[in-house]
Amino acid sequence: MEYDLSVKNVTKKFGEFTAVDSVSFDIVNGHFFSILGPSGCGKTTLLRMIAGFEHPSDGTIEIRGQDMKGIVPNKRPVNMIFQHLALFPMMNVAENIAFGLRRRGTPKNEVMPQVLTMLKRVGLPGFEQKRIDQLSGGQKQRVAIARSLILGPAVLLLDEPLGALDLKLREHMKVELKKLQAEIGTTFMYITHDQSEALVMSDYVAVMNQGRFEQVDTPSNLYNQPKTPFVAQFVGENNAWSGVVEKREGNIVEITTSEDHQFRVEVSEDINPSSTVDLFLRPEALLIEPDPSLTDINRFDVVVNSILFDGASSRLLVNPLNSDKEIIVALPQNKQYDHIKPKDKLVVGWSEKAGICFAKR
């Protein structure tokens, strides 16, 4: 397999503070690769090192097999989409897109045809004479992408460019970006703190926390098989318990939580009796009033606290009997549960296979 971008043990220190801590990864040609992490986790620093705006304290960055050490930003075969897009306000759309070609010394008569072709590709034919302030948010987005893609970069770096858009447009642009990337086949490296952006668009996602990669995986693996407690909590919603392992039978452990629930969970990890564990459970893994005939189910009684109606992602907020702990339960809108009201008592249950357990370190 060939890698457009290959990062090996890259570290960046600002004085005493380590922003990026020996991170390594490769991006396969043509992939959409995202780095997902909370703000301040070092993802922007990592991106800026790849673009050449920061120098790594240690480690190497290779783009298409070429070491980037000592190569200045304007000579690197990567281009960046900035957080606020950084379109030049004193130039029109065509001049913005032509900026890089002109700097490269492309002959005058070749510049304009290329610009027009590019505008067509991003779906903005006829926009060449518009001023930047005449464009809508989505159109600006596309001009910024066109301005970078026209230079044929090995990797296109995107620094949360959807952050400034309103919700509706953001949803729309996610799909557009994904389509555009599939169409042109350029490798994209996208950084964001919004998990839904990362999950929807990417082939691979790296979850980053405190300068390190927690897990690099496909979106569905990140959601279904998180490798660390951080990933379990950061990607998607989760209910969390902490507890002590009472005993272990094959792959099943029995846990007593700090609220005195007894749960049986299937684990893959090496978890020994009497160790403390964190247990995570997705809201949609909780079944409301499960069929009594089902086996291998953890059941417990709860009181409905409130109903959070939100269409397809509606939820119940419940408290276990005699407890203040809040648990989120997915509430399918299939008419079956329309009778549920606040203060109702219910039984909820979940399959032993649905929980995820991590030994506490």
Binding site: A51, F53, V72, P73, N74, K75, N79, M80, F82, Q83, H84, A86, F88, P89, M90, M91, F99, G100, R103, R104, R147, S148, L151
Partner: protein
């Protein structure tokens, strides 16, 4: 509501009208009228273009006029060239911690009277001045040189006195220039030169225009600096006006000169606004 507005409106309007009409509009109309009146051979005041004919007929007058205009443009350009790096350094290069202090330092000298500042240059540069003293002491100079009373000293003095009015608008416009734009230009293959000419200067144009207008206007109308350190051969047009008014007591001739200066400054400012597609009300803010 409407009734209250009415009397409030007139209370605001009256002083403003008095100010603008009594002190701005009518005096300038009077200036224009006076400039078309002259004493004929019998000592009677009559209407005519004689004052303007005098201006164009006498090379000393129009040469001074042209010189003043050209030197003012040179001074404006120099303040821009010197001021841009300073403004850029303060807004974009120096660490944010020192930004406020540096801005303050840049502004401070300009609160001091222009006369004091010019005087400072006089005691630095004149024949018995501090610079000469130091150069003699270090042996770099065998005998004292008069550094004042020439065009170079005058231009430097004018640049010094008007610098602030270029730097302040430059700082405020560069402050709003996002670092991202410069990074993007580098990322797309630009170098320092193309970033300066394609990004920074075009972006700073509104600041450059408003700075240039004020600097140009102040230089053109300056009297002190050319008079005190310009010397005998660097006559400034304001000095001609002063001579007509105070020395020759020929107010009509002086009015014509004044009006010509006013036309020149308005014309250049209008051209500046036209070329850069700005308008006065916007530039002021």
């Amino acid at each position: 509501m409407k009734k209250y507005r009415n009397w409030g409106f007139f209370i605001f309007l009256l002083p403003v009208l008095l100010w603008l009409f009594l002190l701005i509009v009518l005096p300038h109309i009077d200036l224009l009228i006076m400039s078309f009146r002259f004493e004929d051979d019998y000592g009677e005041l009559t209407w005519g273009m004689a004052n303007y004919k005098e201006f164009f007929g006498e090379p000393i007058y129009w040469l001074t006029f042209v010189r003043t205009a050209i030197y003012s443009l040179v001074v404006t350009f120099l303040t821009f060239v010197i001021g841009l790096p300073v403004a850029f350094f303060i807004t974009k290069v120096v660490s944010v911690k020192y930004k406020g202090a540096l801005t303050l330092l840049v502004l401070l000298p300009f609160w001091v009277s222009e006369l004091v500042r010019v005087y400072g240059w006089m005691i630095l540069l004149r024949e018995s001045g501090v610079v000469n003293h130091l150069l003699l002491k270090t042996g770099l100079l065998a005998k004292p040189v008069e550094m004042l009373y020439n065009d170079a000293a005058m231009i430097m003095g004018l640049v010094y006195t008007t610098m602030l009015f270029m730097i302040v608008p430059l700082i405020s416009v560069l402050d709003s220039l996002e670092d991202e734009l410069i990074e993007a230009a580098f990322d797309l293959g630009g170098n320092a030169r193309s970033v300066l000419f394609r990004i920074i200067i075009p972006y700073a144009t509104p600041g450059i225009v408003s700075g240039s207008i004020v600097v140009f206007m102040l230089t053109l109308g300056n009297y002190l600096t050319p008079n005190l350190i310009g010397g005998k051969n660097s006559l400034w047009f304001t000095e001609q006006i002063y001579n007509q008014f105070i020395a020759s007591f020929n107010w009509n001739q002086g009015s014509a000169f004044g009006f010509l200066l006013l036309i020149l400054s308005s014309l250049i400012i209008w051209l500046g606004l036209k070329v850069s597609k700005q308008n006065l009300a916007k530039v002021v803010q």
